[in-house]
C-alpha cells in the first residue's frame, strides 16, 4: 500500500519522470555485473559482496538484509559458493525471484590429491571462469529477469544475445591463444583453487596452495608437496589473487625459486578503475596475465 502510494507520488512528478527501475540484488560482483549487462537501463543492481572482497567468508549485515527485502530479483552463483545465502533470504523474508546463475551447468569436483581419500567431495563453484559455462549463466539470469519484469522481455533477450556474443568472442580468442602454446608449458600455481574451470576449458594444469575455499589452513605437508611439484614440473607461472593472503605464496616462490607473474582476479571484480572492472575485462585480464607468464 505504502509502496504503491510512493510510486504514484514518483510518477506524478513530471519533472523527474523517473522510470522505476527493477531493484536487483546480486550475491557478489561478478554475477552482479552479468545482471547489469543483460538488464541495462531497466535494472538497478546492488552486489552484496563488492569488488575486491571475498565471497567465501562474507558476513551479511542488517543493511544487506534491508537491500534484499526491497529487491525483486536475487541473483546468486549457487553451487555452494554462498553458504550464507539461506540464512539471509530467511532473515529478509525475500519474496522475489531467486536465480541460481550456475544452475544446470556441468560441474566439476574440487580436485582431490591422488591416492588420498578425504571422503567429502566438494563441487567447485567457480564456474564463471569458463566462458562456455557463462552462456548458461546468461540464460539463467535472463530467465530470472523476464520472470521478475515480463514487460522487459524483448529488451532483455536482445541484450542477453549481445552479451553472449561478446563472451563467445573472448572465448574464441583465448582458445586460439592457448592452443598456440605447447601443452607441456600450460601450467600455473595460484593461492586458492579457483581456476579449475578455466584450466579445464583451455587445457592448463593447475596447482594451488589452498583448496577451493579460502577458509582452510595449509599444512606443512601440503606446502612441501607443492614445492616439490613446482621444482619438478618447472612451473613458471605463479599468481596471486586480489583478496587472499599472499604470504604463503611468497614463501613458496622463494623456496622453489620462481617469480610471481602477477595478480589474478578469482572471486571478485576489481574496483571499476582497476584492470578487471567488469566480467569481460576480468576474463580478458586473467587470460592475458597467464599467457604472458607461460609463453
Amino acid at each position: 500500500m505504502k509502496k504503491s502510494l510512493f510510486g504514484l507520488l514518483l510518477l506524478s512528478l513530471p519533472a523527474f519522470a523517473l522510470a522505476a527501475k527493477l531493484p536487483v540484488v546480486a550475491s557478489f560482483s561478478i554475477v552482479g555485473d552479468m545482471a547489469r549487462e543483460i538488464g541495462g537501463d531497466r535494472v538497478d543492481v546492488v552486489s552484496l559482496v563488492g569488488p575486491d572482497q571475498d565471497a567465501h567468508v562474507f558476513q551479511p549485515s542488517p543493511a544487506d538484509v534491508k537491500k534484499l527485502s526491497a529487491s525483486r530479483l536475487f541473483v546468486t552463483n549457487g553451487l555452494g559458493l554462498e553458504g550464507w545465502m539461506g540464512r539471509l533470504t530467511k532473515a529478509s523474508s525475500f519474496r522475489g525471484v531467486l536465480v541460481e546463475a550456475g544452475k544446470g551447468i556441468k560441474t566439476r569436483m574440487a580436485p582431490e590429491e591422488e591416492g588420498e581419500a578425504h571422503g567429502h567431495d566438494a563441487v567447485d563453484p567457480h564456474a564463471w571462469h569458463d566462458p562456455q559455462r557463462v552462456q548458461v549463466y546468461i540464460r539463467n539470469i535472463t530467465a530470472g529477469l523476464i520472470k521478475a519484469d515480463p514487460q522487459g522481455k524483448a529488451d532483455y533477450t536482445r541484450r542477453a544475445a549481445e552479451f553472449a556474443a561478446k563472451v563467445k568472442q573472448q572465448d574464441d580468442w583465448a582458445a586460439k591463444e592457448f592452443a598456440a602454446i605447447p601443452a607441456a608449458k600450460r601450467k600455473m600455481l595460484t593461492s586458492h583453487d579457483a581456476f579449475g574451470y578455466l584450466g579445464e576449458r583451455y587445457g592448463i594444469k593447475l596447482l594451488a596452495i589452498q583448496g577451493v575455499s579460502t577458509e582452510a589452513e595449509a599444512s606443512a605437508k601440503g606446502v612441501a608437496q607443492l614445492v616439490r611439484q613446482v621444482r619438478q614440473e618447472k612451473v613458471s607461472a605463479v599468481f596471486m589473487e586480489n583478496m587472499t593472503d599472499k604470504r604463503l605464496l611468497e614463501q613458496l616462490t622463494r623456496e622453489a625459486k620462481v617469480k610471481i607473474g602477477g595478480e589474478l582476479y578469482a572471486d571478485a571484480l576489481s574496483k571499476p578503475s582497476g584492470p578487471a572492472g567488469d566480467y569481460l575485462k576480468l576474463f580478458h585480464y586473467n587470460v592475458e596475465t597467464i599467457l604472458k607468464s607461460i609463453r
Partner: protein
C-alpha cells in the same frame, strides 16, 4: 637410523620454509615462555586471551591507513593493546576495581570498537584472518620482528626480574622498601602486548596465546624454583613447536593447531605425572605421610 633422519631431520634440511618456521618457533619460545610464566604467577593466565582481542581496533586502523601492510597493522595492534593495558591499570589504581574486572571491561570496549571499525572500513577481509599468520608463511620481516621482540623481552626481563618476582610473591614487602610496583607492572604488561603482537605475525591469534600460556602452566608442574620453571617453559614451548611442525609435515595437519595440540598434550601428561604438581606424585606423597 636413516628412518629416524627422515622422520625428524629431513623436513628441515629439505625445505627452507620448515627451517624458517622452526626459527620462528624458537624465537617465540624464548620471548613468550617467560612472559607466560610471569602471567601465570601473577594469576593473570586469561590475560593473554583478553589482550589478543584488545588489539583488533589498532589493527583495523592500521589496515585503513596502510591497507594490508603487516607492519602497520602490528604497530596499530601494539598501540591498542598497550592503551587497553594502561587504561585498565589506571582504573585499578585509582578506582576501586579489581584488575581482572577492569581488564575485561576495557578489552570488550576495545573489541567492540574494533568490530565497528572493521565493518565500517568497507572491506570484509577478515582482519583476524589476516593477523592470523601461518607459521608456514613466516617471511624475513616476520622473523626479524619475532626475534627482535624475543631479544627485547629477554633483556628487559633481566632488568625487571627481581622486582617483578618480589611483586608477584610479596607486593607489600616491595612497597615497604619503597620500590614502585606499579611501574614494573606496566613495563611487564607492555612486554605481554609486544610478545602477543609478534606471535600473531608468526602463528596467528589463537596460537600465539597458546604457545605463551600452555608451556608456562606446564612448567609450574615440573619445578619448584622460578629458574627451573623458566627453563622448563622455554623448552616445552620449543619442543612443542618442533613436534607440531613435524606432525603437520607428516600427517597433513594445519601447523598452528598442531603445535598447540602438542603443547596441550604435554600439559595433560604433566597434570598426571609431573614431579612438582602432578596428581600421581602428590597422591603418593600423601600416602607416604599417612603411613
Amino acid at each position: 637410523m636413516q628412518h629416524l633422519y627422515d622422520l625428524l631431520i629431513a623436513p628441515f634440511v629439505d625445505f627452507a620454509f620448515m627451517r624458517r618456521a622452526l626459527a620462528g618457533c624458537l624465537a617465540l619460545s624464548l620471548g613468550s615462555g617467560p612472559i607466560g610464566l610471569f602471567l601465570v604467577m601473577r594469576r593473570m593466565s586469561l590475560m593473554g586471551d583478553a589482550m589478543s582481542h584488545a588489539v583488533l581496533p589498532g589493527a583495523a586502523v592500521g589496515f585503513m591507513l596502510a591497507g594490508l601492510s603487516l607492519p602497520a597493522m602490528s604497530l596499530g595492534g601494539f598501540v591498542a593493546g598497550v592503551l587497553v593495558a594502561v587504561l585498565a591499570g589506571l582504573a585499578t589504581r585509582f578506582a576501586g576495581i579489581k584488575e581482572d574486572a577492569s581488564f575485561a571491561a576495557f578489552y570488550l570496549l576495545s573489541l567492540a570498537i574494533g568490530v565497528l571499525l572493521v565493518s565500517k572500513s568497507g572491506s570484509n577481509v577478515d582482519l583476524m584472518h589476516i593477523l592470523f599468520g601461518s607459521v608456514l608463511a613466516v617471511d624475513d620481516a616476520a622473523l626479524y620482528l619475532v626475534s627482535g621482540v624475543a631479544s627485547v623481552t629477554v633483556i628487559s626481563l633481566a632488568f625487571i626480574y627481581r622486582p617483578m618476582l618480589l611483586e608477584s610473591l610479596d607486593p607489600v614487602f616491595l612497597r615497604s622498601v619503597g620500590a614502585r610496583g606499579g611501574l614494573w607492572h606496566m613495563a611487564f604488561l607492555m612486554l605481554v602486548v609486544l610478545n602477543l603482537v609478534s606471535g600473531f605475525q608468526a602463528l596467528g591469534t589463537l596460537m600465539a596465546v597458546g604457545l605463551m600460556m600452555l608451556p608456562a602452566i606446564t612448567a609450574r608442574l615440573w619445578s619448584e624454583s622460578v629458574e627451573g620453571m623458566l627453563v622448563m617453559a622455554v623448552s616445552v614451548a620449543f619442543v612443542s613447536g618442533m613436534a607440531g611442525l613435524l606432525l603437520s609435515y607428516h600427517f597433513e595437519l594445519p601447523s598452528g593447531p598442531a603445535i598447540i595440540l602438542v603443547a596441550g598434550l604435554f600439559y595433560l601428561f604433566s597434570l598426571l605425572f609431573a614431579p612438582a604438581g602432578g596428581a600421581l606424585p602428590r597422591y603418593i606423597r600423601a600416602r607416604h605421610f599417612e603411613s
